[in-house]
């Protein structure tokens, strides 16, 4: 009975540890639309993984990376804005996934799990993907942290100072793709982006340095995962939406804390 709970908690924590810092950079670099597009296309990866029999996670990684590369290629045309390109690519991928679905029999119930996540069904193989992929992503992120921050603050200035801007942009997009694909099982294609964005947005109010914000976002993501999981066990709530809900409640609490702090620091008015 507790075996699967442990696995769920380990899987959720593994995703949260990566989602914290990656989500912060996604927020800073205004890549929320990119993240949302990736998570929608991840569903094509799920179907592809089932059709080709290569496994869901491998399929999702392939499709997410392909979408990221396709976006880089198409975004060179200045006549179509980036968010429009992302909308086209993501929904084309989503549509293709739904069309291909007819070739996979009795998958519709399973599909719901991939749309909204099924953290309670995390397998040992999933855990290996999450912790292995997560470790790679965190190591890469740590290695490029300073130049990535520099180009986030001002891309041309960073380029003049010798930062390989195009390379780092590509590597970071691939990192987001990997996280999206791996987190699919935990929070589902439709909710991945929320685990990236909401803890990071909450952390912004509590932080004065980029690193502090990354740590705070990670802690908030872990707390959200455990709270959501607890609610699922206690009240039989669906786990993944409960996780996102917990993250949202923390965001509102952060809003309140911020208001109180501002009220206190402001001079008393008569």
């Amino acid at each position: 009975m507790f075996d699967f709970l442990w696995r769920s908690a380990l899987g959720g924590i593994g995703v949260a540890l990566v989602a914290g810092p990656i989500g912060c950079v996604v927020l800073w670099r205004r890549m929320v639309v990119f993240g949302a597009a990736l998570s929608h296309s991840a569903l094509l990866g799920v179907v592809l993984g089932l059709v080709l029999g290569i496994g869901v996670t491998a399929g999702a990684i392939i499709v997410c990376v392909a979408v990221a590369l396709l976006f880089l290629l198409l975004a060179r045309d200045a006549r179509v804005s980036d968010d429009a390109v992302l909308g086209i690519v993501a929904h084309a991928a989503l549509a293709l996934g739904l069309v291909l679905l007819v070739f996979v029999s009795d998958v519709s119930t399973e599909l719901l799990g991939y749309l909204f996540g099924d953290i309670l069904a995390v397998s040992n193989a999933d855990l290996a993907w999450i912790w292995g992929g997560g470790a790679v992503v965190l190591a890469v992120l740590a290695a490029m942290w300073r130049p990535l921050l520099a180009m986030t603050v001002h891309e041309e200035l960073a380029a003049v100072e010798g930062v390989q801007v195009a390379l780092l942009r590509l590597v970071f997009m691939l990192a987001v793709s990997l996280v999206t694909a791996v987190a699919l099982k935990i929070v589902g294609a439709l909710l991945i982006i929320s685990l990236l964005i909401i803890p990071a947005a909450t952390a912004r109010r509590l932080s004065t340095t980029p690193e502090g914000m990354a740590v705070a976002a990670t802690v908030l993501a872990v707390v959200s995962v455990l709270a959501g999981l607890g609610a699922s066990v206690q009240w039989d709530a669906p786990a993944s939406p409960a996780i996102v809900l917990a993250a949202s409640i923390l965001f509102v609490l952060g809003l309140g804390v911020d208001l109180v702090r501002q009220r206190r620091s402001a001079p008393a008015r008569h």
Binding site: L27, W28, R30, R146, L149, A150, T152, V153, H154, E156, L157, A158, A159, V160, E161, A201, R204, S207, T208, T209, P210, G212, M213
Partner: protein, 270 residues
């Protein structure tokens, strides 16, 4: 690259002049079928300050980007001396409010520098009090000074400044130009900057290049100021309306406080 052989002078391939830092020959750029720059020659040497003036859309920023290697000209050659270190202050520096960043952290983004060094550079630009402030809370003038300090931290051979006094009040502008000149002279660095106010940069500029998609005229500041091409572009002021120049016995630091000039002859009390 091509050199025109002048009888009796030897031209060393690749190095336009002994103390040259960068040299452009015949730089030509088109975008969307429109010529942005036509056959522009530009050279900046050590200990030399070159100021680009010109109306909006004259291609000033494009020329700076070519000079720094951020873009290539369609035709023409660009030469930079080996290992040229550029300190760049861009015209626009929008800091995302989602990113918590202090001035001190901003100064470390281009590379690890000791804290004493950071304090010294901020003090040099009159911004010592700003070290712990959030970048997003800086005024236009404060941000200019901080960006200059950041550029100086790189121990540049060449300072490239795109409208370095934008958003600074009149009194502050003259102070900032004097500060740039002092900082460059102390390092033997070259300066390439864009400015709208020829009368303000006259005192500290060696050479003015008047640009309007091609080089209209260039030379010493007072000569360019009388050039009919320049006057046609800027509708020059009649002689009697020359900007009144006078000497201050004090300068203002970044917070507006009065700082006495070392060689002042008379006291100044507030």
């Amino acid at each position: 690259m091509q050199h025109v052989a002048v009888p009796g002078t030897a031209v060393r391939a690749g190095a336009p002049a002994a103390d040259a830092l960068l040299s452009l020959r015949g730089a030509t750029v088109s975008r969307g079928g429109e010529r942005i720059l036509t056959a522009v020659d530009l050279t900046v040497g050590r200990n030399e300050t070159v100021t680009l003036v010109g109306p909006n859309g004259a291609g000033k920023t494009t020329l700076l980007r070519i000079a720094m290697g951020l873009m290539r000209p369609d035709e023409g050659t660009v030469w930079r001396c080996d290992g040229l270190r550029i300190g760049y202050v861009p015209q626009h520096f929008p800091v995302a409010s989602t990113l918590p960043l202090t001035v001190d952290r901003l100064l470390t983004l281009s590379g690890r520098v000791p804290g004493g060094e950071r304090r010294a550079r901020l003090a040099e630009v009159g911004a010592a009090a700003l070290q712990a402030r959030a970048v997003s809370a800086l005024s236009g003038g404060e941000l200019r000074r901080v960006l200059l300090a950041r550029a100086l931290l790189r121990e540049p051979d060449l300072l490239v400044l795109d409208e370095p006094v934008q958003g600074v009040d009149m009194a502050g502008q003259a102070e900032l130009y004097a500060l740039i000149a002092r900082a460059a002279r102390a390092r033997g660095a070259g300066v390439l900057m864009v400015s709208h106010e020829l009368h303000l940069v006259m005192a500290t500029t060696d050479r003015v290049v008047c640009l309007n998609r091609h080089v209209c005229c260039e030379g010493a500041p007072d000569a360019v100021g009388k050039n009919p091409q320049y006057l046609a572009l800027f509708g020059g002021l009649p002689d009697g309306v020359a900007v009144y120049t006078h000497h201050h016995d004090h300068v203002h630091d970044v917070s507006g406080g009065v700082v006495p000039v070392a060689d002042t002859h008379h006291g100044h009390h507030h």
